[in-house]
């Protein structure tokens, strides 16, 4: 329970001392081990950037393939959803690359305003300003734009948790300072999500909170206890809301309910199955005729049908790569804040993708979560792109290759070459002998 505070620069052997004067805010090390200004504009992680761009592009294609039928029926325009998704994709790419140029350290000043703003939007949504659709009040209309505050809540919570946990550092281990406040804020957000109702987002928020608390060193006992409590509350939420319980039962006995409550997951599995190993070909899927909202939460089913197991495996590989590069950025981040932020964002992508895919394959009951970057929807795409932009910026601030440090003003190196250099990186941090482990961690 002893806070271990390091003065700035002490933990970083490669930190050029000449740039210390550029710092605007004096903070303790875990939150603000700011690198020099040159590093902010250092070359990005090309693999990460490529994966994100590829997923967004893939999403546009799949949204078109999955939505053409519904768009024709509803709007008499097969490209109705395509046009919108292309617009969102362009905007999200701008956000993605734009944010990658903004030092993530500037974000912590925005942490509370964003958290409060998103909380307010969620509240507005719940107390009656929301826009109904698909059986829930998940949207807020701001002029012609419909925003989904729950999507923003995920990123806002991750940003806040990373800031707060990094700031509290060793105090995270305490219950009152390190554990309870985080759980209360997350709990409030979850409650607002549940009210919409958006059970899926609430579950993701809980998972992200536990993930970051666990990573930052909260006591496992607290997390386990809270998990049990959360599970009990979740079970109660399912059991005592009749429609949720019916859905749950329908999910358990899918064969009996394939015409009513389990219609969507059943059709989704049918889509996966009829794709076979190699798929029926892009644009040749017929399950779009039977799967409602195929371009939204069930776009994975259309991937499965049209591109087959090969396509699904490639999609999984892409998410694996995305999370791996995100975790890599986390490990290489210059400070705790960056590290937590990168890990939280990576976990956000990973958890959402996993839950969505599992729902599409009827491993989990229907949740209403999007597949990051691929599903149709402006809010989801823009928020995920923003998160990816932050991640990309963190990836920039990793330890440089020796020549980068020597010539910071050198023109950007070609991505491929850059990637190779990083592969050759030697661990900067020397393995140090650890005499004994802190008891708190073990507990």
């Amino acid at each position: 329970m002893i806070p271990t505070l390091f003065p700035a620069g002490k933990g970083r052997s490669t930190h050029p001392p000449g740039n210390l004067k550029n710092k605007r805010v004096e903070l303790v090390a875990p939150l603000d081990a700011r690198p020099d200004a040159a590093r902010i504009h250092a070359a990005i992680d090309p693999v990460l950037a490529a994966v994100v761009v590829a997923l967004i592009g893939f999403g546009v294609v799949m949204v078109y393939s999955a939505s053409a039928v519904q768009a024709t029926v509803q709007y008499h325009d097969p490209q109705y959803f395509l046009k919108r998704q292309v617009g969102y994709a362009i905007a999200s790419l701008l956000v993605f690359f734009g944010l990658s140029h903004i030092d993530y350290h500037r974000l912590y000043k925005l942490t509370y305003p964003v958290l409060a703003g998103v909380g307010l939007l969620l509240l507005l949504c719940v107390i009656g300003f929301g826009h109904s659709g698909g059986g829930a009040t998940r949207w807020l209309s701001i002029g012609p734009v419909h925003v989904q505050p729950a999507e923003m809540a995920k990123l806002a919570l991750v940003v806040w948790l990373a800031y707060s946990l990094a700031k509290k550092a060793e105090r995270v281990k305490s219950f009152t300072v390190g554990f309870l406040p985080h759980l209360l804020v997350a709990g409030l957000f979850m409650l607002l999500c549940m009210k919409q109702p958006d059970f899926g987002s609430a579950v993701v928020l809980l998972l992200l909170t536990f993930t970051l608390l666990f990573v930052a060193g909260a006591k496992v006992g607290y997390i386990l206890g809270a998990s049990i409590l959360g599970a009990a509350l979740g079970a109660a939420a399912i059991r005592f809301r009749e429609y949720r319980y019916e859905r749950y039962l329908a999910w358990l006995n899918m064969d009996q309910h394939k015409q009513d409550l389990a219609y969507q997951p059943f059709q989704s599995v049918m889509a996966f199955g009829s794709g076979g190993p190699f798929g029926v070909g892009l644009g040749h899927g017929l399950q779009t005729l039977y799967l409602p909202e195929a371009h939204n939460d069930f776009v994975a089913a259309i991937v499965g049908e049209e591109l087959g197991f090969i396509g699904v495996a490639c999609l999984c590989a892409a998410y694996l790569l995305l999370v791996t590069r995100g975790v890599r950025a986390s490990l290489r981040a210059p400070d705790d804040y960056g590290s937590y932020l990168a890990f939280g964002i990576s976990a956000m992508f990973g958890v959402q993708a996993l839950v969505n895919l599992a729902v599409a394959l009827a491993i989990l009951p229907t949740k209403g979560l999007t597949l990051p970057f691929v599903s149709f929807g402006g809010s989801s795409l823009l928020v995920n792109a923003a998160a990816a932009g932050i991640l990309l910026n963190i990836s920039r601030q990793g330890p440089p290759a020796p020549e980068d440090a020597v010539t910071p003003d050198a023109p950007p190196v070609k991505p491929a070459k850059f990637a190779k250099k990083h592969m050759q990186d030697t661990p900067i941090q020397q393995p140090l002998p650890i005499p004994d482990l802190p008891n708190e961690v073990a507990g």
Binding site: F6, G11, R12, P30, A33, T72, V73, S132, G133, G135, E170, T211, F214, V215, A216, G217, R241, E242, Y243, Q259, D260, Y263, V269, M270, F272, G273, S274, G275, G276, P277, L286, L289, Y290, P292, F309, V312, C316, L320, V327, S330, L331, R332, A333, P334, D336, S339, G350, V351, L354, L357, A358, L361, I363, P399, I428, Q429, P431, I434, L437, V441
Partner: protein, 693 residues
């Protein structure tokens, strides 16, 4: 993390590793599930998906239309809209049970109002939350519009989701009973069940399976491309050779005959002898295919095609044709008719009229059995049988109607004994159908060519492209053209003074034909019944250049039984009205004879005989009516017909440019419009006949 206490950093890495491992395991679990579903069970799922599409896509394409030769629709399919609901779709936006109940209550209230149904009924149907439930079938245009509005977000603030309007095919026969036995009917499942609807079901029905995958979960067609495809898949249109006008004439005359003579049934065929096209095919009793359930099964068959009967004397025509063609008979030969009684083996044959010496023409005109059997016996068993076969008896004519009877020539499947040959010569012991008689007479009328009767003129697809067009098909030459011409002239004598069918003569035309009165075999005794007959008349007109062959068969008339008296007038009225309908101008017999007579024609002498004895039908009654000044360009004065016989009255009416509608028999007792009043040219005059007291 780079700036951290290494111990703490390691712990953080360890925890990150644990979480990444957990995610990795979850991903692995997902991929293995995907492998199981897609690779291992893929084929099974694909089949399930296929079944789902096919089951939901079974929607009947539009059935083709049946037209008469002039393009009048005889059978049409109309799409009658029906409304169904997908309740799961309807409840899409409502997740909680309360909200769902509210949606169902609200929807049932509004739907019930739109469809004028009791609300409870609609509520019950929606309550089950099925994906498909019929709300109301065969709704009106107003109801369709109201339902559309209910589902339209622009028309109503709270649109009801999941309401679908689908067209259900319904077969409609605008002519009601007209050609009902020819057309048949369509069962509710969309399959043709009788007549042409059955025979041409494949063509009319169209195809369903190729539409698969182009409909969504509520069964809607999605792409306009599918609509054009639906057009291509729709059933073909069929144009018949039937002429609605002639069919109408034939049916009303046959109906009149049925009520006048109280027949058990009747059949009438009108055919174009040059092409084999069937212009009318009537059968009584008929039925209305719009309401086929209300009719007797017995009434639905087309007797002209399905019923075989002993033809009787009409077969003498073919006996003589065969003998003339084989050279065993010369046209001028005198045959001794034994004064009405003749014994063949153990059987004694009688003639109705007692004659001694008759020419073949007179044998036909007086219908001498003994004369015919002598010619038949001279021709020989095999010669007679072959002749009958050459005229198409004993085999189906190939008319595309279900259940066509072939008729029987050799009932015991062996050559005839002499008695049987003798009987067959005048049409006993063999059976034929009305359509066979018409086809065989057409062969005589057209110079010996046995044609296949045509009922279907052409088949076109829904886009109007011709799939199949039938043309005249000659099966074989029955007799040489010379013999056919000679026979035509001989047959004219039948309808002239001294013949058995003067009642069949059409004013202004020369009619060739033959009567028949055949005793029916009583199924109880196996012997010929003394009071059950088949009366028939088959003939063609004008004799010198035949336009129409008409075969009339009356089954078991209760009042009278001689073919000439019963079937003859039916023939006359049908031929008279049909010729008029077709615009064939009456010809004086003398003028036309010249064209028929040829120097090398072996029938010369017969023709000369006919010419000298022929008293052309009296058309004196036409002259005075034509002298009456018409009231307008298209109006005529109705002549006074009271007290006239049927024949005279009909002539007068036709002469005035009107169409007679005959009821009863005897002499005219009433007429409508009244005598002297004005009537539009071509309109009908109803004549009520009563037996003269």
């Amino acid at each position: 993390m780079l700036n951290l206490d290494p111990r703490r950093a390691r712990w953080i890495r360890l925890r990150m590793g644990i979480l990444c491992g957990a995610m990795g395991i979850a991903l692995g679990g997902f991929v293995s599930s995907a492998y199981r579903v897609q690779v291992e069970d893929g084929a099974e799922w694909r089949e399930t998906a296929e079944r789902q599409r096919q089951r939901r896509l079974h929607v009947e394409p539009k059935r083709g239309t049946v037209f008469d030769r002039n393009g009048t629709a005889l059978a049409v399919s109309i799409e009658v809209p029906s409304v169904s609901a997908d309740v799961v779709e309807m409840l899409h936006a409502a997740e909680t049970p309360d909200a769902q109940a509210a949606v169902i209550r609200d929807a049932s209230l509004r739907i019930a109002a739109a469809l004028s149904l009791p609300q409870d009924e609609v509520y019950e149907k929606l309550q089950n939350k099925r994906r498909f439930v019929w709300l109301k079938r065969r709704i009106s245009g107003d109801e369709t519009a109201l339902i559309r509005d209910l589902g339209d977000a622009h028309k109503t603030p709270r649109p009801i989701l999941g309401l679908n309007i689908e067209g259900e095919g319904h077969r409609y026969y605008p002519g009601r009973e007209l050609a009902g036995t020819v057309l048949g009917f369509v069962a509710p499942d969309g399959s043709g069940k009788d007549g042409l609807e059955l025979a041409l079901d494949d063509e009319l029905r169209g195809h369903v399976e190729e539409l698969s995958g182009l409909r969504d979960r509520s069964g809607h067609l999605l792409f306009s491309q599918a609509n054009t495809q639906a057009d291509a898949l729709a059933g073909h249109d069929v144009t018949l050779t039937l002429d609605e006008g002639i069919q109408h004439i034939a049916e009303s005359e046959l109906d009149a005959a049925q009520s006048t003579y109280e027949t058990k049934g009747g059949a009438l065929v009108v055919m174009d002898p040059q092409t084999g096209e069937v212009l009318a095919l009537a059968s009584t009793p008929g039925y209305n295919p719009n309401d086929y359930g209300a009719s007797d099964v017995d009434a639905r068959r087309d007797r002209a095609v399905t019923d075989r009967f002993e033809p009787g004397s009409v077969m003498k025509v073919f006996t003589i044709a065969g003998a003339l063609a084989a050279g065993t008979l010369s046209p001028t030969e005198q045959i001794f008719c034994e004064h009405g009684i003749y014994k063949v083996g153990p059987v004694t044959i009688h003639d109705t009229h007692l004659n001694d010496w008759l020419t073949p023409t007179q044998i036909l005109a007086k219908s001498s059995n003994i004369g015919a059997l002598k010619i038949g016996l001279k021709l020989g068993e095999s010669g007679l049988y072959a002749t009958f076969r050459r005229f198409g008896f004993g085999e189906p004519t190939g008319v595309p109607l279900p259940g066509e009877a072939a008729g029987v020539l050799r009932p015991r499947s062996r050559p005839w004994f002499d008695v049987e040959t003798a009987n067959a010569s005048f049409g006993q012991g063999v059976s034929v159908t009305a359509i066979q008689l018409a086809t065989a007479f057409a062969a005589i009328a057209n110079g010996g060519k046995l044609l296949e009767p045509q009922l279907v003129k052409k088949i076109t697809d829904a886009r109007g492209e011709t799939i199949k067009e039938n043309t005249t098909h000659v099966r074989r030459e029955s007799v040489p053209p010379g013999v056919a011409r000679m026979l035509s002239e001989m047959l004219v004598a039948v309808t002239e003074e001294g013949g058995t069918a003067v009642e069949a003569a059409v004013p202004g035309f020369r009619v060739a034909g033959k009567t028949a009165t055949a005793q029916k075999v009583d199924p109880a005794t196996g012997k010929y019944s003394s009071d059950k007959f088949t009366s028939s008349f088959v003939g063609f007109v004008p004799a010198e250049h035949p336009r129409l062959v008409v075969a009339v068969v009356l089954d078991e008339p209760m009042i009278g039984h001689y073919g000439g008296d019963l079937a003859g007038p039916v023939f006359r009225r049908v031929a008279e009205q049909s010729l008029r309908y077709l615009g064939v101008t009456p010809s004086t017999p003398a003028a036309k004879l010249a064209t028929v007579t040829r120097a090398d024609d072996p029938a010369d002498q017969t023709i000369a005989a006919v010419e000298s004895s022929g008293a052309p039908p009296a058309n004196t009654s036409i002259v005075p009516t034509q002298q009456l000044a018409p009231l307008g360009p298209d109006a005529v004065r109705v002549p006074d017909l009271t007290g006239m016989g049927a024949r005279d009255a009909a002539s007068a009416i036709l002469g005035a440019g009107l169409v007679p509608e005959i009821e009863g028999s005897g002499r005219v007792s009433k007429q409508n419009p009244a005598a002297g009043s004005a009537a539009a040219k071509g309109s009908s005059v109803r004549l009520v006949f009563e037996p003269a007291s």
